[in-house]
């Protein structure tokens, strides 16, 4: 993967490479037999390969939590606090369902968190298949809410419940966009 590209361009290229060989085989079958039907390698059953690939890439509104992303650009994780009742919401959201009003202030998330639980993603989703195994944890923040994020540590064996964690913000390699993660203190 060349480093001048971000994940937006890298990922489709990576996924296309994974299926290139199989698709070439089916292409040959269509040319030779006239139909996209191949034998399932496990059962030998005839299978029709979907000719119309469905590619989905959603567009997701972030207008009401734009401050969160401005915060990331400035190296901080921010979230919403209801001005009426003081409830802090993470992930941030513009509405307080307790007060049924939209009257939030933005607060910076800081301080040391405590690790609650974690896992290692060994078998990865297709859109994460370009990455090595990664560790995901849930951390309790001193302001009284939890955050789920990657934990930047070289082995899960170094982790223990209650371990102190600090939130970090930056461009994540090799994907090239800004996000947040935890590091043990």
């Amino acid at each position: 993967m060349s480093d001048d590209k971000t994940i937006i361009k890298k990922l489709p290229e990576h996924i296309d490479r994974l299926s290139e060989e199989a698709l070439s085989l089916i292409d040959n079958i269509v040319r030779e037999t006239g139909l996209p039907i191949y034998q399932d390698p496990k059962t030998g059953a005839p299978m029709w390969l979907d000719v119309r690939e469905l590619r989905l890439r959603y567009v997701i509104p972030v207008k009401n939590i734009e401050e969160f992303f401005k915060g990331l650009r400035n190296g901080v994780v921010r979230t919403t606090k209801c001005k009426e009742c003081g409830t802090i919401y993470f992930p941030p959201q513009p509405d307080c369902p307790k007060c049924r009003v939209r009257n939030m202030e933005w607060i910076d998330i800081d301080g040391e968190g405590e690790l609650l639980t974690w896992t290692v993603i060994n078998v990865k989703p297709l859109s994460f298949s370009h990455l090595k195994d990664y560790i995901v944890g849930i951390v309790r923040m001193p302001q009284g809410f939890n955050i789920l994020a990657w934990i930047n540590v070289d082995s899960h064996e170094k982790l223990a419940p209650g371990m102190k964690m600090r939130l970090k913000v930056g461009r994540r390699d090799p994907e090239g966009y800004i996000t947040y993660w935890f590091e043990p203190i």
Binding site: L18, D40, K42, T43, A45, M47, D50, I60, F90, P91, L116, T117, W118, T119, V120, I121, N122, V123, K124, P125, L126, S127, F128, S129, L131, Y134, V136, I138, F145, N146, I147, L148, A149, W150, H156, A160, P161, T179
Partner: protein
């Protein structure tokens, strides 16, 4: 509210079904259920299709199956509640009859997961938490979500990976006697322990497989049920609850709050002492998408104290003859977990258990005539519970 009975059951073989389409595999189950009840499509008032889809090609499964099964122009709808789709669909059908609107309703749970590749299925099911805040940046997977519970639970109670494997060993043992199960092989703790990690600390053998399958039930109102069969199985009641979308918003990682709420609701409705449910039920199907899920369900459903689940399992108290026989069809682990079919398949199994007609060796002794189903959607995102009985409510 009218009483509702199960008067017909059908189940397709679970597994890697490259020989059947979504409609064809659904029809295997539908045909068996109609044959059991000795009725035809013309007798059905409405049908409910439980299907999650997205890995399979047909976007409107209810109309597809309606056409294939000769049910046009009967009213059919699709119901979705993640892995709890099966019980959710059955409850929808139950309410159609209980309200007096319909007399006979067909429930179909069906899933064709193997129309997509494994990495794609891992992708789609991993998105089934909170997509934007858990998947987009952090690539969570279905085993990963349950693994978070496993880590916390194991550290808290000193439970070992071998203890989780005991659940898989039991479910494969019973699955080996179920000709409709995806896996019909017995396994050992050693085999389970040597399987690779899918989401540490969960291994391949802690996990339910990617399965194609279908199951069907025919529900009928009391007057019709008594005409169709002399051994109806009655739906006694339901419990249901939801959990948060974000796993980070859960109160703890040693059990599912939604299960505890759904259990309490059900037990209250049917007069079961929540401190001792084992006294009431001859057999239970508890949602074991992963081994840790069955362990947590044992305590969340009130059968054992939190933290003692692995001891009870080690003592074989969840086998026939123990405190409460659990997942005698092989469970999701060995029978398979065709998402939308799973809950319907549980009720097919429990109906046949109560009618004492499953394979020898995995038939529970039926004394009180009550059975319990517990179906979790996602990772505690949805929970449905249901009780069945031989005796009329």
């Amino acid at each position: 509210m009218k009483r509702v009975a199960i008067v017909g059951t059908g189940i397709a073989r679970y597994g890697y079904r490259t020989d059947a389409t979504l409609a064809e595999i659904a029809y295997e189950a539908i045909k068996e259920a109609l044959d059991e009840a000795r009725i035809g499509p013309e007798d059905i008032d409405s049908f409910v299709v439980g299907n999650v889809g997205s890995w399979s090609s047909e976007p409107l499964p209810a109309v597809l199956i309606g056409e294939y099964a000769g049910l046009v122009p009967k009213n059919g709808i699709r119901v979705e509640a993640a892995c709890a789709t099966g019980l959710a669909a059955t409850r929808t059908a139950y309410n159609m009859i209980a309200s007096g609107e319909a007399s006979i309703v067909l429930v179909i749970g069906v899933e064709k997961m193997n129309e997509s590749t494994t990495p794609q299925v891992v992708e789609l099911i991993g998105r089934a938490g909170n997509y934007f805040w858990e998947f987009q940046n952090f690539g969570m997977t279905f085993p990963g979500y349950y693994a978070m519970y496993a880590t916390s639970y194991m550290k808290r109670f000193g439970v070992r990976e071998e203890d989780l494997c005991e659940v898989a060993v039991k479910n494969h043992y019973y699955g080996s006697m179920n000709p409709k199960a995806h896996f019909q092989n017995r396994i050992t703790v050693e085999q389970c322990m040597s399987s690779r990690y899918v989401a540490w600390p969960l291994k391949l053998y802690d996990s339910s497989p990617i399965t194609d399958g279908a199951a069907a039930l025919i529900l009928a109102s009391e007057d019709i049920a008594m005409k169709i069969t002399d051994s109806p199985i009655w739906i006694r009641g339901w419990g249901y609850a939801n959990g948060t979308s974000n796993l980070s918003k859960r109160s703890d990682y040693i059990g599912l709050e939604a299960t505890r709420v759904a259990a309490e609701m059900l037990y209250k409705k049917i007069g079961v002492d929540p401190k001792n449910p084992a006294k009431y039920f001859d057999v239970a199907n508890l949602h074991d998408a992963f081994t840790i899920a069955e362990l947590m369900a044992l305590s969340d459903m009130g059968f054992v104290k939190k933290g003692e689940e692995h001891i009870v399992v080690r003592e074989k108290q969840t086998y026939i003859g123990g405190l409460i026989p659990v997942n005698l069809d092989g469970g999701l682990k060995a029978k398979g977990h065709p998402i939308g079919a799973t809950g319907v398949g549980m009720l097919v199994e429990l109906t046949r258990q109560l009618q004492q007609r499953v394979e020898r060796g995995r038939q529970a002794p039926i004394k009180r005539g009550w059975a319990l189903a517990h179906n979790v959607g996602g990772t505690g995102h949805y929970v449905f519970t249901a009780a069945l009985s031989v005796d009329k409510p």
